[in-house]
């Protein structure tokens, strides 16, 4: 039994757990023909898993593959650096310094603020540096809206020059950044991950549960992540499907009692694991400042809609306060 809600990776252990949502053949065929594809989906709908599933499939074909997590890219330079490393390009490196914290990876000293000409210069160099040979397919997972717009919009024509076929996942919340011209023309194919229907939900549970008989009683869920969250609770005897349905109603009712901003945030963060107020991604998605985000997270906490924990994020010093939406 494996009811983890984490994204499935491109490994032989995770592939059997993946259940097709129907758009996979379209995306794969587009990539094989060299067309850039955008995959749009809600939080928890399985965008990352879908990219990894295709990555796994393409390992047996004549492509050079690279996977870049958009959420870990802080700037266009940072993104280009990651693409270079992934594709094994001897890239015009800035001075590298070893992390003070003892990790192996050197990090790049970022040049002061992004200057468009310099980014374009790097892009031009990258175009020349990517080796000939098998075609490169780049999986780019859920970049933030600003980065997406800068990269596929403002820099579109230069990015187009890269000998790369793109498969990009976009969170529904950030999808408008890809639709605004000039970014809209970059993607030849746009596919949306369909809503989770009953038969796929059952299939997902069957692949996860040793005992299939309980698969029918998990109730409805909007995304695979919420489905698995419910399944975990049922299996851990935290409730039956009926109780979970009642909890859902109660959750929605409690949302009525908080401010509109708080309700919006709760829906946004639901099912995506703990976040902190300093999470730049969340700030950007909502267009809020950090103090504003802190204030609304606190409101959710005092309304019992969020639970707070402390976690160290790998740096010395004060641990971050992490908030997670609770639905029970």
């Amino acid at each position: 039994m494996n009811l983890s809600g984490r994204p499935l990776l491109a490994t032989r252990l995770d592939v059997p757990l993946y259940v097709d949502c129907g758009i996979e053949p379209v995306v794969m065929n587009a990539a094989r023909r060299g067309l850039n594809t955008l995959v749009v989906g809600e939080a928890g709908s399985g965008k990352t898993s879908l990219l990894h599933r295709i990555e796994y499939e393409f390992r047996n074909e004549e492509f050079k593959l690279a996977f870049v997590d958009g959420r870990s890219c802080e700037s266009v330079q940072d993104l280009l650096e990651k693409i270079g490393i992934q594709l094994g390009v001897e890239f015009p490196r800035q001075e590298t310094v070893h992390s003070l914290f003892g990790l192996e990876e050197p990090f790049i000293q970022k040049p002061p603020q992004s200057e468009p000409p310099s980014v374009e210069r790097i892009l031009a160099k990258l175009v020349k540096a990517i080796p000939q040979g098998p075609r490169s397919i780049l999986f780019f997972d859920s970049p933030e809206r600003d980065l997406a717009h800068a990269f596929f919009g403002r820099l579109r024509d230069a990015v187009w020059q890269l000998p790369i076929t793109w498969i990009v996942a976009a969170d529904s919340n950030a999808a408008d950044a890809f639709r605004r011209p000039p970014a809209d023309a970059f993607f030849e194919i746009v596919e949306r991950i369909p809503a989770l229907d009953d038969s796929r939900a059952r299939e997902i549970l069957r692949s996860r549960l040793a005992d299939e008989s309980s698969a029918g009683e998990m109730g409805k869920a909007a995304t695979p992540r919420i489905l698995l969250d419910h399944a975990r609770r049922v299996m851990l005897d935290f409730g039956t499907a009926a109780i979970l349905q009642r909890m859902e109603v109660e959750f929605q009712r409690r949302l009525d009692d908080v401010s509109r901003a708080a309700a919006m945030l709760a829906n946004e963060l639901r099912g995506q694991g703990p976040v902190s107020a300093s999470d730049a991604d969340v700030q950007r998605r909502l267009g809020w400042t950090r103090p504003r985000l802190t204030q609304v997270l606190k409101e959710l906490e005092s309304a019992g809609l969020a639970r707070a924990t402390e976690a160290s994020d790998g740096h010395p010093g004060r641990p971050r306060r992490l908030y997670e939406i609770v639905t029970d």
Binding site: S4, R6, P7, L9, A10, T11, R12, L13, D14, H52, E55, R59, F67, D69, R71, S72, S99, L100, F101, G102, L103, E104, G273, P274, A311, S312, D313, G314, H315, P316, L322
Partner: protein, 344 residues
């Protein structure tokens, strides 16, 4: 024959500074030395079962060599990853989740280190004698069991999934994923930690807290994973309060690295090192009485094996200097005098 002395000296046959993987090739198993199955065989059996072992010994007496021998890349049934704890980031050693992330990265990195010649040789791997395989492993620069190579790409994927700061739980889940992947080869994954003596001399302060947390929560996290766990532990830790949680819980199985028991033991050891120069025998290098003298000194001064081997190394120099073809008592005595003078 003076050439042989020079050659042994030049290749540091007795006093090598080698990579962890190479230590195993130079190791003479205590089990074969003593005709028992209490050290290497016991550790090996535990690792094959996916159990945990604390390998106890004092500094320089062969903990790392023993560990390296047991988990050598030519052992088809084990895939060992050496996890260093000598790291600069203190959070890595106080936070089980971060340590799990560290282990995942090491596993992914090591999987890439299967060399091309090793991969080719893997195809040819059939039943061969231990020494033939050992020699070949060494020649091909084997660092890790080559079976793991086909998983390299998948292990990179798992490692990249923990690049973002996430919860401890997710780091540990990724570690389980990596270990399960290694198991798909049919071999047992083994984590080896042989540098925990880094905090030995530490008294109080932040580093003492690191030591406490390493032998406490971190060791517990590792003990709960489905893999073999081999930790070299300095004898002096055994009475420490900080080590107690490991002793009582995570690492209950303690195997002691023995000392040499006789001049015969020492002769076996020297003989093995001498064969690094092809065709040479122990009697070509040492006269009979000197080995007894060496053993007596080892006992009398409670030398560590490493100290004894350094003395042997400098004896080569003294013997050659006096124009001798063999190391005799005089050359060894000169080395001891030097050693005593230095330690003053």
């Amino acid at each position: 024959m003076g050439d042989l002395l020079n050659e042994l000296q030049q290749i540091h046959a007795f006093d090598p500074t080698v990579r962890f993987e190479e230590l195993g090739y130079l190791h003479v198993p205590f089990d074969s030395m003593h005709g028992k199955t209490t050290v290497e065989s016991r550790i090996s059996a535990a690792m094959h079962r996916g159990d945990r072992v604390a390998l106890i010994g004092t500094t320089g007496n062969g903990k790392s060599s023993t560990a390296s021998y047991v988990v050598s890349p030519m052992n088809e049934a084990l895939i060992a990853f050496r996890i260093g704890v000598t790291v600069e980031d203190p959070d890595l050693l106080t936070n089980p989740g971060r340590f799990a992330q560290h282990v995942v990265r090491r596993i992914a990195r090591d999987a890439k280190e299967v060399s091309e010649p090793q991969r080719i040789q893997l195809q040819l791997d059939v039943a061969e004698t231990h020494s033939v395989r050992a020699e070949r492993s060494r020649r091909t620069g084997a660092k890790i069991n080559a079976k793991v190579f086909e998983l390299s790409g998948e292990l990179q994927t798992v490692a990249s999934s923990v690049d973002q700061p996430t919860s401890s739980h997710e780091f540990i889940e990724a570690l389980d994923h990596a270990l399960d992947l290694v198991r798909t080869t049919g071999a047992v994954p083994v984590l080896v930690i042989d540098d925990s003596d880094t905090w030995l001399e530490v008294e109080g302060g932040e580093l003492a807290a690191t030591r406490r947390s390493f032998f406490g929560p971190i060791m517990r996290m590792l003990a709960e994973r489905d893999c073999g766990l081999l930790v070299a532990v300095d004898e002096r830790y055994l009475d420490s309060v900080d080590y107690k949680p490991a002793r009582n819980g995570s690492l209950p199985d303690e195997i002691h690295v023995p000392r040499l028991r006789s001049a015969d033991d020492l002769e076996l050891l020297l003989a093995h090192r001498v064969t690094q120069v092809e065709g040479s025998k122990v009697a070509d290098v040492f006269n009979e009485s000197v080995i007894v003298k060496m053993f007596t000194e080892y006992e009398r001064s409670k030398l560590s094996l490493r100290q004894l081997m350094r003395l042997v190394h400098s004896s080569l120099y003294h013997a050659a200097e006096s124009g001798n073809r063999q190391v005799g008592p005089a050359a060894f005595a000169a080395s001891v005098r030097e050693f005593v003078a230095e330690s003053r």
